[in-house]
Symmetry: C2
Amino acid sequence: MNRPPRASDVAALAGVSRSAVSRAFTDGASVAPETRDRIMAAAEELGYRVNHLARSLKEAAPSKLVALVVSDMDHSLRARLVDLLARGLVAGGFRPFLLPWSQGDDPRQLIDMMLNYNVSGAIVTSDTPPEEISHQCARFGVPLVLVNKAPVDARAARVVQDTDAAGRMAAHLLREAGCRRVLYAGQARASFTIDERRRAFEAELGALGMTLAGQVTGPSQNHAGGLIAAEQYLAARHDVDGVHCANDFLALGFIDGLRRAGLPAHDWPALVGCDDIAEAAWPAFDLTTIRQDPGLLANACLDGLADRIAHPANQPELQVLPVAAVRRATTRKTNID
Amino acid sequence: MNRPPRASDVAALAGVSRSAVSRAFTDGASVAPETRDRIMAAAEELGYRVNHLARSLKEAAPSKLVALVVSDMDHSLRARLVDLLARGLVAGGFRPFLLPWSQGDDPRQLIDMMLNYNVSGAIVTSDTPPEEISHQCARFGVPLVLVNKAPVDARAARVVQDTDAAGRMAAHLLREAGCRRVLYAGQARASFTIDERRRAFEAELGALGMTLAGQVTGPSQNHAGGLIAAEQYLAARHDVDGVHCANDFLALGFIDGLRRAGLPAHDWPALVGCDDIAEAAWPAFDLTTIRQDPGLLANACLDGLADRIAHPANQPELQVLPVAAVRRATTRKTNID
DNA sequence: CGTCGGCATGCACACGTGTGCAATGCCTTT
DNA sequence: AAAGGCATTGCACACGTGTGCATGCCGACG
């Protein structure tokens, strides 16, 4: 017989009823100390473990599983976030359930998985998740937290970066570097956070009396996209003294593009990215950027989820997380001043 | 009444028995087409979903959950691997279950989680996982795949890089660059793969008539460790013409260390890393390295797991994955010849 | 027309667990 | 000594599902 031992096996060995075994493994249940000891000894001998699937089946409350819907895990900031979320969930007694999602995947499959496994909540950190996920979760009462996403469903909690402050900050950092005419590098429609930030950036440029000379666009918001944006920048011979990139990966690619083209360092524009990924601090780049603390982000998600689970009827909360300027070389050793 | 609908609710609405509902959702079961249609309509109306937890409880086979034990997710190669593994598992009908583990965590807690949830298998990609995990998995019959790990338990399948080829390759790449006296950058005892590779590297140096001048050591196998290794290298004024770094992150840090110290490019030693992480190809580094294909790695893990699940009694297989040399600037624009 | 085979369906049990309720036994109080 | 309270324990049911078995029905074939 090779099946895992169950409670009744332990009960038989310990000479008690199966209920007693169940109670021995339940905190606060009424069991005599010596009975509990005998049960625990029998359990140890058989290698018995409580089957949490069966347990969560019995309890009306959904399982302790939490779905983690994530895309673009190769983005180091997201990998870090997933790591922190998983740790936090495990520490809180939950079990993170990794659901990768890519643009073009069928969202219904994702929803099926979440509902089939009776998850007690979900955290969505993928870019541009389909609205259907939010609506279906709301319909079936699955507590949901959206990270840096647009408010697609009023019943989902949201955690977002303070995009307004970040956009203004970018403008001020370029201003500090002495810039007058600047460029924006990134796509016209990228993601919620990037778009919002860009809007605030452009507005603040006006308030500071600076000029937005135009925009260069890479095919994607990553290093490869930055390389191409830099080529465009060099080809167009823009007469600008500063560039704000949609995110750090793009900015690093932009720097690499300038470097590859052999542009002398004193001709480089001032550069400001956003996110403060680990690579931005490397001496090869030393990029001025705007920091979004992944620890803060993860904690806000966990708090938001806990709140949704505990008080499903409440108005879902919107948490806006602060950002901080990180001044490095790309706004110092510029040719301006 | 706010509980999720169950099969009996659907049965009542469709005017059939609960068995019929169960059969309607089971492939290959015997149900009349019009009955199935009526059941599906009722299910759609109520928003019914099969509860897979209860299903897996019924089926003697363990749940479709697979534990993904992972540490150091901020290592971009590992994040990529986790992403690929999660995708592959989902595609194969499994559900990945993310269990972060850090040095110092209690392994028993991890084992409890895996056994409590009756996982049908586990893939361990963390560095230096405690042996206890392997032994407990074996004891309880949980199919296990170890990625780039030492053979701690004979009953676990293993997927490892061809460390022997990689180490020899590193020596040959330095030889190609004209090196004679070389250095190894990395810790004496790091991880299984790194240690094995270093051994092969040193052996091949001898065979090629090259000299290992010594070793510089950073506090960690990442960018920060590389920075410090570079400082040591510069301080000791080693008379060498090439350096092999334990992995790419360390190599990138090493380059950044030389760059920060202002060492002119024609005085740089030839450099060879290992892994071919995305950043190694960036123009800022253009690092010669040894590629380990994460797609291959992920597929090997999934195959290994499937094999362990299908044939638990078989001898666990050991898959050795090929590596490939990636020649870039750090072995070209050297000062030699 | 009788028999047989195949298909659809329902009954009942099983999976492994938690817990309300009642029963039992012991200790304390009057 | 009787009564009452309390801790402990077992019985039985519930959670939501899959499936073997038996039954009933219908068509086909001899």
